[in-house]
Subunit: 350 residues, 4 copies
């Protein structure tokens, strides 16, 4: 850490900073400059809290050299995390994992039809919401537990693993009983009570990036999960808020290489929420794989115009079939492949 003093700071101001550093058990290393003095903090094992310094007189700014997160960082664990699911599919490493399905579970017929189609096309994980966070209190909020049961039936029939969202600490236990991966939605990325519950539920967690979260905040939210003992965490980029409305959100694909540089956790992308427009889902799905994403979360609905939510951004199963072929070729161009595990797993089971 570096404490930068104002050019008008007095010697007493500098001395107060030096003392504070020493009180914290670190070693101060003043770096005098022609314009101003800066004081380095040496001897710290990791991130040092800036709060005691910013309130001191004469301090202009505090600059961090260390990162504030630990267990999620590549410095803590250089090799990539690879998560194994009960159906044999993996997330992380060489494979590219495709998770697909409808926004909401609506009926047995709908979820089974979706599951069959996405599995046939090569997906290994089925997505589908039973509890839906909605901006308006008057919108459809999901089927609740019956939706979870339908997901479990789809898993039985197809061998797909399941990812579905939990909305609050008390719901985590229920969701964890059914799902293979607990999803934390973008609105809840900094809902720390929920993170603590999810991190101790014994299931892998997929953490969506908040719509205006920095990479640093996203990784710190993941740190809450690892700090509770759950190391099987998947990061999911799903678009950030921006000034333009040419798309619903601005899918930040550069966050994929940026995050993978900082962390050992797998990073996937959601081009469906990230664009909000089914015409833009295929190009951005391809772009995400080309940028190095470890997987995708794609909305596929047997009948988009009659979807109860997100119909505008759902692909038809036919369009999804085509997309999967394109993705296979793009993955190959960078020496990767779509994870095939589930197919074998299911065949073996069959």
């Amino acid at each position: 850490m570096l404490v930068v003093m104002d050019h008008r700071a007095s010697e007493e101001d500098v001395e107060a900073v030096v003392q504070t550093i020493e009180e914290m058990g670190y070693e101060p290393e003043p770096i005098p400059g022609r314009q101003r003095t800066a004081i380095g903090v040496v001897g710290n094992d990791g991130y040092v809290d800036e709060d005691p310094f910013v309130a001191l007189d004469g301090v202009r700014e505090v600059i961090h050299v260390s990162r504030p997160y630990k267990q999620v960082s590549r410095e803590w664990r250089p090799e990539e995390t690879v998560i194994e699911l009960p159906n044999g599919a993996t997330i992380g490493g060489e494979g590219v994992t495709i998770m697909a399905g409808p926004c909401s579970v609506e009926s047995e017929e709908q979820i089974l039809e979706a599951a069959r189609r996405v599995k046939r096309a090569g997906a290994t994980v089925l997505r589908g919401g039973a509890f839906k966070p909605r901006t308006s209190p008057y919108s459809f909020q999901g089927l609740g537990e019956p939706g979870l049961e339908l997901l479990a039936r789809a898993r039985e029939e197809t061998g797909l693993a399941i990812v579905t969202e939990a909305l609050d600490p008390s719901g985590v236990e229920l969701v964890a009983r059914y799902t293979d991966i607990i999803q934390i939605g973008a609105r809840n990325m900094q809902n720390y009570s929920l993170l603590r519950a999810a991190g101790s539920a014994g299931k892998p967690v997929m953490l969506k990036r908040g719509i205006s979260a920095t990479l640093r905040e996203w990784l710190l939210a993941a740190e809450y999960l690892l700090n509770e003992g759950e190391s099987r965490v998947i990061l999911c980029e799903r678009g950030v808020r921006n000034f333009d409305d040419h798309a619903r959100y601005l899918l930040d694909l550069t966050a994929v290489p940026s995050a993978k540089q900082e962390t050992h956790l797998p990073v996937i992308a959601d081009p469906s929420h990230g664009t909000g427009d089914r015409k833009k889902v295929p190009p951005m799905a391809r772009a995400a794989v080309a940028a190095g994403a470890d997987g995708l979360l794609v909305e596929v609905h047997p009948d988009p115009p009659h979807a109860l939510s997100d119909g505008a951004q759902s692909l038809t199963p036919d369009r999804f079939d085509e997309l999967m072929e394109e993705l296979e070729a793009i993955a190959a161009s960078i020496d990767r492949h779509l994870t095939p595990a589930v197919r074998e797993a299911v065949e073996a089971a069959g």
Copy 2:
């Protein structure tokens, strides 16, 4: 609502939209144009869900004419909501309500000293966090219930009302037992389980704007509270995320007149979190009152350099005294005044 068709839309596409409108029980009103057709939706009482339309072929965009929120809107209730607190202070209407105190409750001495000083300067509500949402799992997370007890002691001694934050549905009941106003923090603005719990706890709720929430999303979050039966809701602008780092957040003071135009609820501002820098708190506090805010939430700490959180943005009690005089004069310039109720109430009680 207006459904705008693509210029290449076929007659069948237009017909499908017309049918969908009719199936929903509304009346379609096609408006043919030289470049494209648009179809108005007539007969709706309020907001119409756009989902069934955006997924249809040939639909370019759906434009809403109605607002998606109801009970929070001025169209629903034209007269301003004025909230009365147990100590006689009010929020909304002609008065400008000052809420002040430390970021976190740290000790009996600290909170009592803060309470005495802000009361003497003219504040009517004491702020102080017992449960703190922190970006890093390694930061100080608040004293918990003992912090609530200390707040209650400060209230007893000074007659100030209390505002403090609840972090999750299960914590709402506990917080509500102690506080006069339940605070919902910016990170939790779209934590719907928390909103539902807070809206049915029987206490006024202060809802902070999310750091990248639009005015529309903020009002919809408030709608969750009113929908649970709690009409005593205060909106608090606290800065939004932006591209520049000259301040920690960008305090969006235009949101004050914008929100007051749309809603009957009182709107206050938090210049402390909104700037993150105690040197910028006084100018932005003055600006908020000049812009028409119904109150302020200001961090004041007896000893900012030793604060356990947010020291950098806390005013000393002396600086707060000066600020209150400036605010009084600014309120007067637009025919308003700082709410004096608590002083009288306490004197009467004494």
Copy 3:
């Protein structure tokens, strides 16, 4: 266009809007609603100016149904624009055009070495700045006309076409004497005097998107060029401003499919400025092609650590060679190819 009235608007207010529409020669089409009235404007050939309406009493908002741009739109010209360069290379259509080279022209040796290497790898256009817009007046501002002469020598030797930036109206004529494509930089996207000069210089123009320009503003800036008679316009996405600093800018690749949906002009991407970090250039270059970009603008420097500008985001020629192979495979996966024209052209010329 739709003029939406406030719910408190009087009949006189509505009448004033109706009259204004008639005075402008259009036909008003009132759409009464339960909550408020909206008045459609029918009979207009294109975009209607909203200014006369927004200042009227009782008007809540004006909603545009038509697009404000004409000649750049697909509605005006459905088939894609394909630009042919003197060396036989094309931009637009099936091919993917790679433009590469250093940020600034620094010396004969540097530009010739860069040109030879990018040509050998398969690029068809050489980039290089002779006039550099710099945030600080104390930074290197480019070689000026001698830089243009060096670019011309590199073209002679390699057969590559040239793209280089013009900074002001008086510089356009000079730049146009040397270059094959005039570049308009992001900072100048709304420098209308420059756009008018560039649009009448008789050379194709590459228009970079401003760092906070909406798609609509970008297309309107291009409209200035077409309005001056120059229809050979290339749009270049180069990253937008955002709240996070994990990358220098946020490369908005969704703007590629969004723009191509609206306009017939070719759309390329600049992953070098868009990320500011050479480690992120290859993944984002691949992603851009996967998203459907018609080309790339990539910084390549023979010796990045000694570059006079933008060394941090420049690829070495060796890394560029590898990238080109990845790009070839990705283009093939969506039935496209890297434009090969220049190689043949030069061989023919040789």
Copy 4:
């Protein structure tokens, strides 16, 4: 400056940084840490170019301690710049300078009526555009030189000083012949050719902040002006781009105290462009003065509904009269006053 190394950086990488620092004539000061090494740069007089470092292997980031601007900074010149206009009005210091008038000069009658009214209300500078930068090539672009002549007539009659915009280097000379202050618009903040021309025209310059310019970029743009010899520069905050559309731009009033902390130049605000809505102009004008702005730029039009541009954000003269009274009281609350100079100057002249 501080060069922070990656934790995997080798000793050779560190050595290369040390050598580069020495080659530049500075002194390296390595600060070894447990996680990584950082190398301070000592002995520099000001800002050091980061380009030679960021491209070196093993460098994680470069952190600047000095500011990149010089002449605009308070460190260079601690006392505030006060600009005197020919009519005796001043900008900067204790006074608050009100500049008002229509967006565009439309006719003799219009500009004279506006000038008389804003002068009577207490403004000292008349604003009005003769050359208008417009997003669409099909919008009204201003009267040109005849507009400048009308402004000069209004000055003769009222004694108001004039501020009007120049769009390109060749237009600066013409505008400078007529105006008292040359305005550089937001779109042109980084049009360096224009800045150089304006900085050497011998007239004070008002530099609007670009809609997504950081404070640092804004001050560097001002540095171009001072670097050409013009020290009479006024900064004008006019709203930045944001994700919400509740107002046209997000007026960043915190930029007022932030800028005044960094620079000795006067800082004013434009609540008209900053909100785009005449109902929000008075609250935000008051807020700007309360936040410490040295002046305001306000659009006032004798007949807003018939304005050729920006009618929606123009105040009527009557509303402006009221606003001026509110502003007088707010200025007084912080020991400031509206600059009265022009009234006396004109009386003296009469």
